[in-house]
């Protein structure tokens, strides 16, 4: 399967292939959630099997491009590297390097994890390099980092720092993984990947006093609690420190999760009451996320469908009710339907009352009008 995803993998020399495969299968290297990508391959000698390749490794919202150079002529020799960041390991010392990257010293090409271990160690070393750069950029950033690590629950492994001094203006980025209990979240369809939330805080401007926080959510988390743009995360004024701000964001996220859970429970309750009250007339309903239910009712020999679509922030927002005739077809050839806008609604009603009131309103007020409209709009 992996070979199909990476057609380049087939061109890699056979002794490197398992090592590289292991790297590409790894879901996470460092904080950034995202796989490592194989970018381009080449051969150090003119053979048809390649032994040099470029990896794109996610780090602090950026992608590190690392050239990994093996040598097919010396399979027992470990990989060599060229980093896109020229400042990293600009003047490496063999002893320091050996302590940071022990897997390279005791390189064993027969071990499948060999390359992955080396990459992990190098990435850790890279992070350390960035933290050192951070320290050279004035007290503010250093203080932000040390307090964030020291004073909050956020651990070192959940932070990635990146100094982008080449940019204009220069930027300092903190990528912080918001780790919390996502298992409380209601079950979702298409839950193929894990839930992840990342806070990317960018410092720039004079004295690094311009700060812009951004929240990144994984796709599934977005589905559960909404897109980051609509979430309105708390603002980060320049005089506030990350050690205060990050817990605030965590609290904010927790509230969002709580409300998502509550909404889910309400939707479930609404549908449960409908199922109980109208158990003979259920056509179908969403049994996983409880987003919608369709029932078939009859009023004086007129049969019609009612679609209840429950918004994600139900009951704060009222459900969308659509009536659909089973007899009448519009000129487009579909069953005639009408959205019911003026149904009585209050989010404070208990669910049973809400269901009762809506059904009563539909039967007593809406159907006659809907029936008349259906006949009027009927194509035949």
């Amino acid at each position: 399967m992996l070979n199909q995803q990476h057609p380049l993998l087939n061109t890699i020399d056979s002794y490197i292939e398992p090592l590289l495969k292991r790297v590409l299968q790894t879901k996470r290297l460092g904080v950034s959630y995202g796989p490592i990508k194989l970018d381009s391959v080449s051969s150090s000698c003119n053979k048809n099997k390649n032994d040099c390749f470029k990896l794109s490794i996610p780090y602090a919202g950026e992608h590190l491009m690392w050239n990994v150079l093996f040598d097919s002529q010396c399979p027992e020799m470990g990989p060599d590297f060229i980093f896109n960041d020229q400042n990293f390991l600009m003047n490496p010392d063999i002893d320091i390097l050996s302590t940071w990257v022990p897997s390279l010293v005791k390189w064993n090409p027969n071990e499948t994890d060999a390359l992955l271990n080396v990459l992990m160690e190098l990435l850790l070393y890279y992070k350390e390099h960035q933290i050192q750069l951070l320290g050279k950029q004035g007290d503010r950033l250093q203080l932000e980092y040390s307090t964030l690590v020291g004073e909050t629950e956020i651990c070192k492994e959940d932070i990635e720092v990146m100094m982008l001094l080449g940019l204009k203006p220069a930027e300092a980025r903190f990528l912080i993984r918001i780790s919390m209990d996502y298992t409380r979240l209601p079950p979702r369809m298409n839950k193929s990947q894990n839930d992840e939330a990342m806070l990317l805080v960018t410092f720039y401007g004079p004295d690094w006093n311009r700060i812009s926080p951004q929240l990144y959510l994984s796709k599934t988390l977005e589905d559960a609690i909404g897109r980051p743009e609509s979430l309105h995360i708390p603002p980060l004024p320049p005089n506030k420190y990350l050690m205060d701000y990050v817990p605030e964001v965590i609290k904010f996220m927790e509230e969002k999760i709580n409300s998502a859970v509550q909404c889910f429970e309400s939707r479930k309750e609404f549908i449960v009451f409908l199922l109980v009250l109208q158990r003979g007339s259920i056509v179908e309903y969403d049994a996983i996320e409880f987003n919608w239910i369709i029932i078939l009712l009859e009023h004086r020999d007129f049969h019609f469908l009612i679609h209840f679509n429950l918004p994600s922030i139900f009951p704060k927002e009222k459900p969308q009710i659509t009536l659909q005739s089973v007899y009448h077809v519009t000129s487009q050839g579909i069953l005639y339907r009408e959205v019911l806008d003026d149904a009585p609604y209050s989010p404070r009603w208990p669910m049973k009352l809400m269901v009762d009131k809506l059904l009563t309103y539909i039967i007593e007020n809406a159907v006659q009008k809907f029936q008349a409209n259906s006949i009027k709009n009927n194509r035949f």
Binding site: S44, N46, Q73, M77, L89, I94, L97
Partner: protein
């Protein structure tokens, strides 16, 4: 000191040797640059009669030394093995002024992580020995790439030195012939370096002295011819030695490679966790192979064929024969080719000495019939090469880079440099049929001056 005062100088012969060695290697190649850092003091007078002294430093690369089994010098992290390095460099240690790394199919000439680590270690290792300053130690990065259509071969190189934590490029100047390696551009005076290690005169100087030329009586042409003849004789005398040592080196390299492949294969098999019996059989068989002095390819075939060992059957070919054998055959052919072309050349020269006007014509004739009546043929080499090739075809890689058992080192060091220089030249000349005398002198001189090492 301004950067403009620091130069790398190299003779054309040394540069072509460097490129030649790289081109004929299968893949990556590394080696050392030998030479000397020369310091010149230039005194100039300003308009106000002030004497100003400027120091210029020219790092002169005299020759190179390839390291076919680079993996024995350092480990995966790039830590050098000082003992083995000493063994490898031996008495040349004082002349090492830099090292080079050649890579194929890369587009950029940036030092890799290991290059940087190695540079620092090499610099401190060799600078302590030869008194040359550490920040004048050179790294030469070379690469070769082929265009999409495979029509254009591009060779790039850069000389770098490590200064204040940075690698900075140094300009390269290719010297003209002669000993004026130190001459500054535009100056008629030949400055002498402040400090130059007292060494024996190089091969070319020795040759000229041995001729005891009388420039007053003889015409320039005759003198040139004499020099050329002497040079060629010298070259000829080197060829058998070169062939011999080259073949020896190649053979040893092949053995090293084979043994290494076996070790790799054995490791892989062990990793596969075969069932008890067959595992023991393989390891036993492998051990026997490893110890057998003369490697017999039939044992290998046997191993491959053994039918109860499906896994092994798959594993061994993949690790034991990863590369085609063309490099080996190529080098064998090179040896034969030298022999041919040199005998040719000599014939031409002889012809020219007798009948100078007709030399061009005769040259054409001999060019067309390369193998006929060569005065001194080297038949044993040719025949040997053919049968060796056949053996080789199924086995390992031949020369170029190797993977090394240190035990084989002393043999490999022998006479590496000489072969290459002479090969360069004999080849070069065999493709340029119309040589005038200056050219002849030039090539002879070049080839000799680059063998200075021995």
């Amino acid at each position: 000191m301004a950067d403009g005062d620091l130069l790398v100088t190299i003779s054309g012969a040394a540069l072509s040797l460097l490129f030649y060695e790289n081109v004929r290697s299968v893949g990556e190649q590394m080696g050392f640059l030998l030479g000397e850092a020369l310091e010149f003091i230039v005194k100039t007078y300003t308009d106000s009669d002030n004497q100003v002294e400027t120091i210029k430093i020219h790092i002169n690369v005299e020759t190179i030394m390839t390291c076919p089994l680079s993996d024995i010098l350092y480990d995966s992290s790039g830590r050098i093995n000082k003992e083995k390095l000493k063994d490898f460099v031996r008495d040349k240690s004082r002349q090492v002024i830099g090292w080079f790394r050649f890579r194929r199919n890369t587009s950029n000439l940036t030092p890799t992580m290991r290059d940087k680590v190695l540079h620092k270690q090499f610099a401190s290792h060799f600078s302590s020995g030869n008194g040359c300053r550490e920040d004048f130690f050179l790294t030469c990065l070379l690469n070769a790439s082929i265009s999409e259509t495979r029509g254009t071969h591009k060779f790039r190189h850069v000389f770098l030195r490590h200064k204040r934590g940075m690698f900075e490029p140094i300009p390269l100047r290719i010297n003209n012939l002669g000993d004026d390696a130190s001459r500054h551009d535009g100056s008629d005076y030949k400055p002498t370096p402040v400090r130059k290690s007292a060494r024996l005169p190089d091969g070319f100087t020795e040759l000229i002295e041995s001729l005891k030329l009388d420039m007053m009586r003889k015409s320039g042409l005759d003198s040139a011819m004499m020099i050329q003849k002497a040079a060629e004789q010298h070259l000829m005398s080197l060829i058998p030695k070169v062939c011999e040592s080259d073949l020896e080196v190649a053979e040893l390299e092949r053995q090293v490679r084979e043994l290494k492949d076996k070790i790799m294969g054995q490791r892989l098999i062990r990793k596969m966790k075969m069932n008890g019996e067959s595992y023991e059989r393989t390891s036993k068989a492998n051990r026997e192979n490893c110890f057998s002095e003369k490697i017999d390819s039939s044992t290998k075939d046997e191993m491959k064929i053994s039918d109860d060992m499906r896994l092994q059957k798959e594993q061994i070919p993949s690790c034991a024969q990863p590369v085609t054998s063309n490099s080996w055959t190529q080098s064998r052919n090179t040896a034969a080719c030298i022999a041919k072309s040199v005998t040719n050349q000599e014939k031409i020269r002889r012809g020219r000495g007798n009948l100078q006007e007709d030399s061009n014509q005769q040259q054409d004739v001999t060019q067309n019939s390369p193998c006929t009546n060569s005065r001194r043929s080297v038949p044993e080499i040719v025949t040997e090469s053919i049968c060796q090739e056949n053996n080789e075809a199924s086995m390992g890689r031949g020369r170029g880079r190797g993977r090394g058992n240190p035990d084989f080192m002393p043999g490999m060091k022998k006479g590496r440099r000489n072969p290459n220089t002479s090969q360069v030249h004999s080849r070069e000349r065999s493709i340029t049929p119309e040589q005038d005398f200056s050219d002849a002198e030039c090539s002879a001189a070049v080839s000799l001056s680059s063998t200075v090492l021995r």
